[in-house]
């Protein structure tokens, strides 16, 4: 049994167009010590998946309409708030995209980390603060003791994200969810954060769910990858398989449209491969494959929604791929 198992998860949101299915039968699992990359465009349900695991779907308008989420065998859906609060922070933790808005501006970095430690462990304030300083040192903040008394606005973007990470790993969670942890950061800082997350995983055996839209980040971070589109997982497998041999036309497009940095040929690079159009609004999804309108391989069968299937190690939800038309 995997450490975290999400099975056939359905999440609905009440909108003015009626109930809209944001997640439609998502199944994922993560083992201890591995990184699952979840990749897709904005609006495909990556963050909703993460928030469901943390029990943070705003309700209303959101509602978990079905499925199960099990952490270490314990069902999370329908758990009382009190138990969820115990689990959040100690067994599972999350790093958000924008460190400035997710830190409290009126408390120092050290106090905020100490607060998390005191909530979950039986330690006093001074001891918690000392541990916070150790953690800040661990995540690579220079002069950690002095920096612990700084307020978030006194820290740079990279340091704020390190504080978030220190807070998230303060109780050595089993599962760490990183929702686009480096989108707001510069590349040199992004590289440092990636290395830090990999170090933490090696030291504590943390399972990481890395949510991103960047295939480059996936290559560096993920052991396994799930590609999401319009609330469904459409392809899943080992990172190398997905990157070298993507089967779904959407996954192929996501990889082909990245401007290459490689040395390559001299002169102006050829135009990038494009995925035409945009993700359809969820309330307009019909019966068929949600990607069909943007897909170059569309044919009659696409009028019916494909299901994730085929090779169990590398399943894909695409008629054209299943019938070897690609």
């Amino acid at each position: 049994m995997a450490l975290l198992e999400i099975n056939d998860l359905k999440v609905e949101f009440g909108t003015r167009y009626g109930p809209v299915t944001a997640l439609d039968g998502v199944s994922l699992e993560v083992e201890a010590g591995e990184t699952l990359g979840v990749v897709g465009e904005s609006g495909c349900g990556k963050s909703i998946t993460a928030l469901s695991v943390m029990g943070l779907i705003p309700s209303p308008p959101g509602k978990i309409a079905g499925g199960s989420i099990k952490l270490g065998g314990e069902e999370l859906i329908g758990l009382p708030d009190k138990r969820l609060r115990q689990l959040r922070g100690s067994d599972m933790a999350m790093i958000f995209q924008e460190p400035m808005t997710s830190l409290n501006p009126v408390f120092t970095a050290g106090d905020q980390i100490a607060e998390a430690i005191m909530l979950h462990q039986d330690v006093g304030k001074a001891e918690a603060f000392n541990r916070a300083v150790e953690l800040l040192d661990r995540v690579g903040i220079p002069e950690a003791r002095r920096r612990a008394s700084d307020y978030p606005h006194q820290l740079s973007g990279g340091m704020r994200q390190r504080v978030m990470i220190a807070m998230a790993v303060s109780c050595q969670p089993k599962v760490l969810i990183a929702d686009e942890p480096t989108t707001a950061l510069d590349v040199t800082v992004q590289a440092q954060i990636f290395d830090l997350l990999n170090d933490i995983q090696r030291d504590f055996g943390t399972a990481i769910i890395m949510i991103t839209h960047d295939m480059g980040a996936i290559a560096e971070m993920a052991d396994r990858v799930a590609v999401m589109y319009a609330g469904k997982v459409i392809e899943q497998g080992v990172a190398d398989d997905i990157l070298d041999n993507p089967k779904h036309p959407y996954a192929q497009g996501l990889i082909a449209c990245i401007p290459a940095l490689g040395k390559g040929d001299a002169g102006r690079p050829p135009p990038l491969a494009e995925i035409p159009g945009v993700v359809p609004p969820l309330h307009l999804l019909g019966e068929g494959c949600a990607f069909a309108d943007r897909c170059a391989h569309k044919y009659d069968a696409c009028a019916k929604a494909p299901v994730l299937g085929g090779d169990t190690a590398h399943p894909v939800a695409c008629h054209a791929s299943a019938e070897a038309r690609i």
Partner: protein, 320 residues
């Protein structure tokens, strides 16, 4: 080839608030005596991290930001000496595309009017010809005529960026300054916009001053590249040269830090070179090379003397 935009010794200093009534006023030099040339029909990329002064440099070079010194020549005419009315007229030739397609379009205005507004302000053509121009622009950037009367919130991020591009093209400019035009977009949409910009450049003979922090994007669109660090240009080269033979240690580090599909976790690949820490503060910058603190090659001389930009690179070690 003729030069369309040339900056000479461009410096931008922002006054800081006084610490006390009698304290000396401190200044923040966001851009420190940089020079560059943009040739007609080509794209000059300015790349750097946040706070490196790339946006300030671009805005100063089209006279959109405060107290700049030095000189900027647009088609041989010094922009800093023009009077306000002449500069306003000149703006027809210079347009902008901003980073955030959500905040750069007026949410209460219909998109047809947003695109038409530059024509109204500069009094180009009559009402009917302006309307026709807007429709033509919509087609050019890949939007449908039936979308003309919608509001910005009814469009996706990529479509909004197309509207920004249409607005920038309205006056038939010669130069477009693109300030991180794709960094707020998803990768799939980013490719669409980059291809559109390349197509427009070819069809209309535009010149771009292109600001980005993403080296992949820079390589895709730019012919010439200037790398900025803490207000200075540290390396300046053509695309092929910069990407095959980066000389400044900062450029090398930037290239090494960029995520790459080839660097796999499964194969245990490690980044060849890692930068520690953050750039120093632009208030009271270090006396020597600004990068010396983080530089793997730094020597004693680097901390004392700022390196001059010679042979396209500002580095004591690389220029030896």
């Amino acid at each position: 080839m003729s030069v369309i935009l040339e900056a000479k010794d461009l410096t931008v200093r922002f006054p800081m608030p006084r610490k006390s009534l009698f304290a000396e006023r401190q200044h923040l030099e966001a851009v420190r005596s940089i020079s560059f040339q943009l040739e007609k029909g080509r794209t000059l990329g300015i790349v750097g991290e946040s706070g490196s002064g790339k946006t300030t440099a671009a805005m100063a070079s089209i006279r959109l930001t405060g107290p700049a010194t030095g000189a900027v020549e647009f088609e041989g005419e010094d922009l800093f000496t023009l009077d306000d009315e002449a500069m306003r007229k000149r703006r027809a030739d210079i347009q902008l595309i901003f980073q955030d397609p959500y905040s750069s379009l007026n949410p209460r205005d219909r998109v047809s009017h947003i695109v038409q507004e530059p024509l109204d302000l500069l009094e180009i053509g009559d009402e009917a010809s302006r309307k026709a121009r807007v429709e033509e622009l919509f087609k050019l950037v890949g939007l449908r005529p039936d979308q003309l009367n919608l509001f910005p919130h009814q469009f996706s991020g990529g479509q909004r960026q197309r509207i920004s591009i249409a607005r920038a093209l309205a006056t038939n400019p010669k130069l477009i300054v693109c300030d991180e035009p794709v960094s707020a977009l998803d990768v799939a949409i980013q490719a669409q916009i980059l291809n559109l910009l390349a197509k427009l450049q070819e069809e209309l003979g535009l010149s771009y001053l292109f600001i980005s922090h993403d080296l992949g994007v820079i390589r895709q669109v730019c012919d010439d590249i200037a790398v900025m660090y803490l207000g200075r240009i540290v390396e300046q080269a053509s695309r092929d040269e910069l990407f095959t033979n980066p000389r400044h240690p900062y450029t090398q580090a930037l290239l090494a830090a960029a995520p790459s599909l080839a660097r796999r976790k499964s194969s245990g690949a490690k980044r060849p070179q890692q930068l520690k820490g953050d750039p120093p503060s632009p208030i009271n910058p270090p006396p020597g090379c600004a990068f010396a603190e983080r530089c793997p090659l730094a020597e004693a001389v680097c901390k004392q003397m700022p390196p001059p930009l010679e042979n396209g690179v500002a580095c004591h070690v690389a220029n030896r």
